[in-house]
């Protein structure tokens, strides 16, 4: 651009920069920001209660589980099933409490029966070790962050717990629930599914016949469910068909997307907070109807 252009743009810029927000308007803006913070905080409180309820439910599940397992084992008689091979125990790991900081970390650990040896149980043991290590790694990270925040001035509360979704004869899923509340709430779930017939850890791709575009088929169904839910309830919001922020929109699940198999044998896709919806929606799940994937399931 020529010097004259520069000069003219400079004049325009001076004109453009003239407006300044009044003190009153700035004060009102700060109030509005406090209001935003307050609303965020109350949302996270709601989530804290939800988190505690889940934690309570998890404790119940674990107390009842041994009885169920033995009943199942008895019913099965002498048929060798891996279902009786895995057992989940919970360990009170890291506990801390002062005026501003509370940590309640109870970790699940998958145990395998000793003494039996064949390739399937060996695989099972390896899978269990692998999952236990992953859970330990996640918990360590959370506890480290919690400890490093102890010096700060804010309030914080972390809860780590688990739930066994002991759903079908073929699959076994362990859900690790990590919950944090402070200035805002944050929940993160991890799912681990084991194939009880092989002892192997199951990935989403393992469920489907090869050469099928299961990601697209499932994603399309999730989008359909999102649209239906949003149409039915104004309070529900997913990032889909959002024109203001198109790059936030849910496009497709990935190989790492969490899932489990429910008691009807249906695949349930799980998203963490903020993945496919505003964080205020929390973690969300979509049950994929059998008829959608019936043709491509193994």
């Amino acid at each position: 651009m020529s010097n004259n252009d520069d000069k003219n743009l400079k004049l325009l810029k001076e004109q453009y920069e003239k407006p300044v927000m009044s003190d009153k308007a700035v004060f009102e803006m700060k109030q509005r920001m406090e209001q935003g913070k307050e609303e965020k905080r109350s949302m996270s409180k709601k989530k804290l209660f939800k988190g505690l309820a889940i934690a309570a439910a998890a404790v119940l599940t674990i107390l009842i589980l041994p009885n169920i397992s033995s009943e199942v084992a008895q019913a099965m008689g002498n048929i060798p099933v891996l279902g009786g091979f895995f057992k989940v125990i919970t360990i009170r790991d890291y506990q801390y409490e002062d005026e501003r900081n509370v940590a309640d970390v109870v970790l699940p650990e998958i145990k395998t029966k000793e003494g039996t040896d064949n390739s399937v149980t060996d695989t099972g043991k390896k899978t269990a070790d692998e999952i236990n290590a992953k859970i330990r790694e996640i918990a360590n990270k959370w506890v480290e962050e919690f400890k490093s925040n102890l010096e700060g001035e804010g309030y914080q509360n972390i809860t780590i717990n688990s739930e066994v979704i002991n759903s079908t004869e073929d699959y076994f899923t362990l859900k690790l629930i990590c919950f944090w509340s402070g200035g805002s709430g944050y929940e993160e779930n991890h799912f681990y599914t084991i194939n009880l017939n092989t002892g192997e850890k199951v990935e989403l791709a393992d469920l489907f016949k090869e050469g099928n575009d299961y990601k697209r088929i499932i994603s399309e169904n999730i989008k359909k469910q999102m649209r239906e839910q949003m149409a039915a309830d104004e309070g529900i919001l997913y990032w889909i068909d959002n024109e203001e922020y198109p790059e936030w929109n849910f496009k497709e699940i990935s190989d790492d997307t969490s899932f489990y198999i429910n008691e009807n044998g249906e695949v349930v896709i799980c998203f963490n907070e903020g993945d496919v919806a505003p964080a205020s929606m929390g973690t969300v799940e979509f049950t994929i109807p059998m008829d959608v994937v019936a043709n491509i399931l193994k």
Partner: protein
């Protein structure tokens, strides 16, 4: 992780407190009304704080807040446009002293909203083109063509001005 989230909240708050006049100027250039512009910035600040968890990459925080402000401006323009047909509300360009610039200001103001925003973000707020693309939710090539089109329009006016200036000198 949660410490990142907490830090993120603070970063967004600091950005707003540092840049509110910049958002305000942008809002003023579109709505030409102090009360509306203040309202836009206040709503934008509220939305940014409340939804700060939605920001996925903290390094985009500044442009992310800008983008929320820009959306507030466009939201307001859409309701205003419908209204102004009824009450015959004319835009009042508050130009006091720089009389020679009024043609340029009108030229800038009469551009399509996004062309105007690109020029202002680039030359008055010194943002990079890829940042502008993110703020406006458009791809880079669209932003580039808006920039060239806008500059061309301004340059025509500038040439006029420069010529007039030259004539005056001759006289």
């Amino acid at each position: 992780m949660f410490r990142r989230k907490k830090k993120q909240d603070e970063i967004i708050e600091q950005i707003i407190l540092k840049k509110y006049n910049s958002y305000y100027r942008m809002a003023m250039s579109f709505v030409h009304n102090e009360a509306d512009a203040a309202d836009i910035v206040q709503e934008g600040a509220y939305n940014a704080i409340k939804n700060s968890d939605s920001l996925k990459h903290i390094e985009f925080a500044e442009t992310w807040v800008y983008r929320i402000m820009m959306n507030e401006i466009y939201k307001r323009l859409n309701t205003k446009k419908v209204k102004s047909i009824d009450d015959g509300d004319f835009i009042d360009l508050q130009v006091e002293d720089k009389y020679e610039n009024i043609d340029l200001m009108i030229a800038l103001d009469s551009m399509p909203d996004n062309d105007k925003a690109v020029i202002q973000l680039k030359y008055f707020e010194d943002l990079k083109l890829d940042e502008i693309a993110y703020i406006l939710g458009e791809n880079l090539s669209t932003v580039k063509s808006r920039l060239y089109r806008g500059l061309k329009k301004l340059r025509c006016k500038m040439d006029d001005l420069n010529m007039k200036g030259g004539e005056r000198h001759v006289k």
